[in-house]
């Protein structure tokens, strides 16, 4: 039974989060490191280059890596303090089993015994309920090799269709929109194309806090005359220095893009030649936006009409531009349409596939890009292949040495897997690199579902908030304890280098998977002896696929400071910018630059739909959620690093002074936000930089501090991304802090 073995307080007392701070060798300037390892940050999708200083198998500090071209030494506080996650008091050094009589509720277990226990539980559940009775949840912070291996493990070893990953909460709306519009899912341009843009359009991206290094690119463009347009319900640090700020009402981005297109058509700010030669579907789209007058756009989006007109004019008349967006427009029940709306105004301008003419989503997780290409997604096979496509299935089945009929079909998204637990269809679960009880919406439901599992095994380096529900916990590897490749927000494939060995009985994640396959007596296909061998197989598996990695090697990455995919041959340098006019791709076969048989990009009609949950008399406000600069995702790592916790110890409710006055709140008061699903009491922060009809809570915290107690599990029908960015809430003054903190 997957329940908390002892009280939450008792688990926390033994397994943390405790705070690590620099002590001993890490504080001693006299210590000379044994080695300096060039690698990358373990956190966001920018994957800044960093050098780790290592002494006696411990990362004792860092040195900026000035030569790595993307960040040239720059790092945000997370990257600076990341080294404190190693040699951490909370580090899991053994496997553990659920045992209410043990301190903290978990008893150490010898590694072999733990693996055997996991294998027998899988065997038992699958023999009783069929292979699909067991599910796998994975994550986009895993290297490409591990992501590939997890997909193969689920399909070949466990024979279950039920695998999905935490990128479901992150990049899938943009991915789906990119596939619909361009036929390929990758940032179209390297970040260097931001520098020459005349207009930089940023929709729903808190660049300064979530992708800090990108700030310098944006402001460098601005130094040379670029106009910066920021669309966000909150005036974030990047918006403070922008030229035009559009404070959009949460969930109304499609309306804004439609309204911009209306003005582009009205003023003939269109690239007719590009539209005619390289796209299809413009006429239908143009007809569909006929009603999106500036007045109506203003009414729906809550943005002043004058500002909408100004934005359209700057965008419409620019010669070069870069449009970027992030979760702000993607985390919606119409996230795909929001992204398509953005792509529509890019295609109508004709400004793509050229220097300083770009479009990109700012991918959120370390391997957000690579992790969504090689088969840990429920509907996908390696090389960004489609699991429902017979040709794709046949190719991968051949690579894996199995019969095509034995390859499971499409599974379901991560949230749907929890609904399947509810319905008794998934009985056992393995999770790695995923902390669903913090990161999924309406997470009180998620906690109940973990309790319902007959068997739950979690692989992690710390006992994360979800792993506390596990029957068996296996100690996996920190990023710096293994090697492998990762694909950055730019589409640049880079190499993570091993700095230290796994401590105690902890193992590289891929070894744990191998050992489990062995213990299940299903070792076929799981006999790699290192990540390089996994990459070699992935190169074959991705060959001729859309995400073609077949020409990528560790050596080429080192030589070139990364390789942009597609890279289809050993002598191919990679593809820095997509959609260049004369470019070749395997789908268009030379007919045009886009990844469709005719080589043309697709305009998509984007009908405006309001959020799943509109405000009402009882719930009159909109809640939007997001990150702060010093924490990452569910906080498993950053809530354990002292200096990062000092910077932001607790979540808060950000509100406008008008709202504060109406409710009788002042800065620092306790406030309770309530939705139809849950409530959350936190201190309020009163600032003029948020819409008065919207409140904001950062989401990195668990249990009573978790914003996801409130959020709604409404999902985009195509991408299945949850609607984290808007739901209906009410706010009231609270007499006291929450009962436990």
């Amino acid at each position: 039974m997957a329940t908390l073995p002892v009280s939450l307080d008792e688990v926390r007392q033994h397994f943390g989060p405790h705070l690590s701070r620099a002590t001993g060798m890490r504080l001693d300037p006299g210590v000379t490191p044994d080695k300096v390892v060039k690698t990358h940050c373990c956190f966001c999708g920018q994957q800044c280059g960093i050098q780790l200083l290592v002494k006696d198998n411990e990362v004792i500090g860092f040195e900026p890596w000035m030569e790595f071209p993307f960040n040239q030494g720059k790092l945000c506080p997370k990257g600076i303090k990341r080294y404190l996650q190693g040699s951490h008091p909370d580090r899991l050094l053994h496997p553990y089993e659920h045992d209410p009589s043990a301190p903290g509720g978990f008893k150490p277990l010898p590694y072999k015994e733990a693996i055997a226990r996991v294998a027998s539980a899988i065997e038992r559940i699958q023999s009783q309920h069929g292979p699909q009775g067991f599910g796998v949840l994975t994550g986009a912070s895993l290297t490409v090799e591990k992501a590939y291996l997890m997909g193969k493990f689920a399909r070949v070893c466990l024979k279950t269709p039920y695998i999905d990953y935490n990128g479901r909460l992150c990049m899938v709306s943009a991915a789906a929109a990119n596939k619909k519009a361009f036929g390929v899912d990758r940032a179209a341009n390297p970040w260097s194309d931001i520098l020459g843009a005349e207009v930089v359009w940023i929709s729903g991206a808190n660049v300064a806090e979530c992708a800090p290094i990108t700030t310098d690119y944006v402001w460098q463009a601005r130094e040379h005359g670029a106009k910066v347009i920021v669309v966000d319900p909150r005036l974030t640090p990047i918006a403070r220095t922008c030229d035009l700020f559009l404070p959009v009402k949460p969930g109304r981005d499609t309306a804004l893009f439609n309204g911009i297109l209306y003005l582009m058509i009205e003023h003939d700010w269109l690239d007719h030649e590009f539209i005619r030669q390289h796209t299809v579907g413009f006429d239908d789209l143009a007809a569909s936006v006929r009603d999106w007058t500036p007045k109506r756009t203003a009414e729906v989006t809550g943005i002043a009409e004058r500002a909408i007109r100004q934005a359209a004019e700057w965008w419409g008349t620019a010669k070069t531009s870069f449009l970027m967006h992030a979760r702000g427009i993607e985390h919606h029940s119409h996230g795909v349409e929001n992204c398509l709306g953005a792509i529509n105004i890019v295609l109508a301008s004709g400004r793509i596939g050229r220097e300083a003419c770009g479009y990109a989503t700012i991918t959120g997780q370390a391997n957000g890009q690579g992790g969504r290409e090689h088969g840990q997604k429920c509907d996908q096979l390696p090389g960004a292949r489609d699991i429902a496509n017979p040709e794709h299935r046949a190719y991968i089945a051949k690579v894996w040495g199995i019969n095509q009929e034995d390859l499971p079909g499409p599974g379901v998204d991560a949230y749907e897997m929890f609904r399947k637990i509810d319905r008794g269809e998934i009985i056992g679960l393995l999770s790695i690199c995923f902390n669903p009880v913090v990161s999924l919406p309406d997470n009180n439901f998620v906690g109940r579902m973990l309790e319902k599992l007959e068997f739950y095994v979690a692989i992690d380096f710390f006992l994360n908030d979800s792993a506390r529900y596990a029957d068996v916990v296996l100690p996996g590897s920190l990023q710096e304890e293994d090697e492998g490749i990762v694909t950055t927000a730019e589409g640049r494939v880079i190499k993570i280098n091993k700095a230290v060995e796994c401590p105690g009985e902890a193992r590289e994640d891929w070894r744990i998977i191998h050992d489990t396959a062995q213990a299940l007596s299903r070792p076929r296909g799981f006999t790699f002896s290192n990540p390089r061998e996994i990459l070699d197989e992935l190169r074959v598996a991705s060959r001729s696929g859309i995400a073609d990695y077949s020409g990528i090697s560790y050596e080429k990455i080192e030589r070139q400071d990364g390789v942009f995919w597609p890279c289809p041959a050993d002598d191919h340098l990679g593809t820095v910018r997509l959609f260049e006019p004369e470019s070749w791709n395997p789908v268009a076969q030379g007919k045009g630059p886009f990844y469709f048989p005719d080589g043309k990009a697709h305009f998509n009609v984007t009908a405006y739909r309001p959020p799943a949950e509109e405000t009402s008399r009882d719930y009159p406000l909109m809640l939007t959620t997001g990150r702060v600069v010093s924490h990452f995702l569910s906080g498993t790592q950053t809530r354990r690093i002292g200096p990062l916790v000092d910077q932001c110890p607790d979540p808060f409710i950000e509100i406008h002074p008008q709202l504060a006055a109406r409710i009788g709140l002042v800065d620092g008061d306790w406030g309770t936000a309530e939705s139809r699903r849950g409530s959350c009491t936190l201190r309020v922060r009163v600032v003029k930089t948020i819409r008065p009809d919207t409140i904001f809570i950062p989401y990195h915290w668990p249990a009573e501090k978790s914003a996801n107690q409130l959020t709604i599990a409404a999902q985009d029908p195509i991408s299945k991304i949850p609607e984290y960015k808007v739901c209906a809430v009410r706010l009231k003054k609270a007499a006291a802090p929450p009962p436990t903190s």
Partner: protein, 221 residues
């Protein structure tokens, strides 16, 4: 020369995103590991996300050193003003109170005033200071004047400041909009007695001094 002459330090608060990267990175410097010599302040958080990194400006004629009764604070030949010398510092706090930029901090546990030494250990071996190396938005920039002119055509460096009647020239530059005059809200004009400082002026300038005029006043174009 520990700091190559070609490289200078430039601060551009308009770029600061409040990420605290500089503050966190400063604690990683070998000469004062575990302590940050940088403060990051919100100007008025209720009204704006504007933040300002406060680093030592390394004055040509450092007030902190001038008011030190123990002669513990030294300005090196290269213009870097160093942390108080441990054997001399009497932890009297004069420097903390006198610095017009609010930079020096008293480490009460160590009875020592500590401040930025512009990463002496790094700059002396040709590296950039830690904070300017990592700053994601390059609000803190370390490079040549040529580089800053090429990279930031909309701004220009300023290193002359006026506090009441005191004019201070600094080694560190503050980036200001390229075409603007500097507004000085000078309460001194309304005082009965003038303040004292290292440069006393008989006649007080009016508000809205032109920068060129001020720079020529301090003897450098």
């Amino acid at each position: 020369m520990p700091v190559p002459e070609a490289n200078e330090f430039f601060v551009d608060p308009s770029r600061c995103i409040g990420c605290n990267g500089c503050v966190q990175a400063c604690t990683e410097c070998d000469t004062h590991k575990g302590y940050s010599m940088i403060q990051l302040d919100y100007v008025d958080q209720a009204n704006s996300p504007q933040t300002v990194p406060v680093v030592c400006m390394h004055c040509e004629s450092p007030t902190c050193a001038e008011v030190c009764p123990a002669d513990a604070i030294k300005r090196m030949e290269d213009g870097v003003v160093q942390t108080a010398r441990k054997p001399r510092c009497i932890a009297c706090n004069n420097c903390v109170l006198a610095c017009p930029f609010g930079v020096p901090k008293m480490n009460t546990a160590m009875h020592l005033m500590m401040k930025c030494d512009m990463c002496y250990d790094r700059t002396s071996v040709g590296k950039k200071p830690m904070c300017a190396s990592v700053c994601p938005s390059q609000a803190l920039f370390f490079g040549t004047r040529g580089e800053i002119e090429r990279l930031r055509p909309q701004s220009r460096p300023l290193n002359t400041f006026k506090f009441g009647a005191q004019i201070i020239k600094t080694k560190v530059n503050m980036m200001v909009p390229a075409r603007s005059t500097v507004e000085h809200l000078d309460v001194v004009g309304a005082l009965y007695e003038p303040t004292v400082g290292n440069q006393l002026e008989d006649s007080l300038s009016p508000n809205g001094i032109d920068i060129e005029e001020m720079e020529s006043e301090s003897g450098k174009p």
